[in-house]
């Protein structure tokens, strides 16, 4: 098989996989008042070091060069746009994406925690979507766990010399999925199932979260690749200045 044909088969496989599974569920942030107070505090406290690291990471990057601001603003705006779009999924319900992969790859995963929490606060206050009490838990899943996984995936792919577009796709899509895996774990820890405890509960929540999110994760991966293509075409100096693209790589 030629390279192109293999790609086609891979795309078909992903589509078939995502269309094949369909229990009904909604994958969203954890609702206001739905985590016991203790959990809210613990998740909130867990987020603090990441947010502080993110704050410094952003400040250092910006003091190094002001150009990075353009890319930072665009990564933040990307999260804003992507997480506001509720998209119908094959399970018969809607969910939205996280959009955090882009910033994590371009900057640092900790920088994204700051961008992510801004979006979460916006939605919690104005939209009653997510919530202030569950802000800690939602920040941890969407603005910390997801971006860190995306970053790790991208780094590994680069080490393995995977094509850059493919690495970006994998990083963004897996980061998106991972966000909802963490959400499932968070819910499961607060609501262990009576028969099987936390583990059984995780399986239950995952079973309903993951299938809805899978196609959306694919979309997020594709959109992230598109925006990076755009940036590579028009913002090469910025990408080089933040170290995303090395000097010698430029053809």
């Amino acid at each position: 098989m030629s390279k192109k044909q293999r790609k086609t088969v891979a795309v078909c496989a992903v589509l078939a996989l995502s269309l094949g599974i369909m229990p009904v569920a909604n994958a969203m942030h954890i609702m206001e008042g739905y985590l016991p107070a203790g959990f809210c505090v613990v998740w909130g406290v867990l987020c603090v070091p990441f947010l502080v690291a993110g704050f410094f990471s952003i400040r250092n990057k910006l003091s190094e060069n002001r150009r990075a601001l353009t890319i930072l603003a665009m990564s933040g705006a990307f999260i804003f746009v992507i997480s506001s779009l509720k998209i119908p999924s094959v399970t018969g319900s809607c969910s939205h994406m996280t959009g955090t992969g882009l910033g994590a790859i371009l900057f640092s995963p900790s920088a994204v925690s700051i961008l992510g929490i801004i979006v979460l606060i916006f939605q919690a206050i104005l939209l009653a979507h997510g919530g202030l009490t569950t802000l800690g838990a939602n920040t941890f899943s969407m603005a910390i766990a997801g971006p860190f996984l995306a970053f790790a995936v991208y780094q590994i792919c680069q080490k393995l010399k995977v094509n850059r577009k493919v690495s970006i796709f994998l990083a963004a899509a897996l980061g998106d999925i991972f966000t909802y895996c963490v959400t499932s774990v968070q819910l499961a820890m607060a609501y262990p199932s009576e028969s099987g405890g936390v583990a059984a509960s995780i399986v239950k929540f995952l079973g309903v979260f993951a299938p809805t999110q899978l196609p959306l994760a694919v979309i997020e991966g594709l959109l992230t690749v598109i925006i990076v293509i755009g940036l590579e075409t028009y913002a090469m100096p910025e990408l080089k200045s933040i170290g995303f693209i090395k000097e010698q790589e430029v053809r």
Binding site: M28, M31, V81, S84, L127, A128, P215, L222, T233
Partner: protein, 112 residues
């Protein structure tokens, strides 16, 4: 060479966009009559199913307390649009600047 690469990128972007649209729209046709429901209700149903009892949230969203009820659906979509709008605005603004800069650069290079 450069223009060739550019058109190659354009093709990739178009193909990807079509894929995105397909993945987003196909479910509407595959699952005809499904509700494509909102967020909060289905989530709470699931928590009740797992914990085996009705759950009363111990905290109501600040906005709902102030309004004395849920945010009307139309207004909710307004705010979601606002969120999208802010994001798209920022991206479009910077993208516009970058595209124009690139154009100027090519012009200058051609002249010299």
């Amino acid at each position: 060479m450069n223009t060739q690469k550019k058109s190659h990128n354009t093709v990739t972007v178009i193909v990807l966009l079509i894929l995105v649209a397909l993945i987003a729209i196909v479910p509407l046709f595959v699952k005809k009559g499904a509700e494509f429901g909102g967020s909060d209700d289905a989530g709470s149903v699931m928590v009740e199913e797992v914990s085996g009892e009705a759950y009363t949230p111990w905290f109501t969203p600040v906005l709902e307390t102030m309004l004395g009820g849920e945010l009307p659906g139309e207004v909710e979509s307004l705010i979601f649009c606002l969120q999208t709008g802010i994001g798209v605005g920022i991206i479009a603004f910077f993208m516009g600047r970058l595209v124009e800069r690139k154009k100027q650069e090519t012009l200058r290079n051609d002249n010299h």
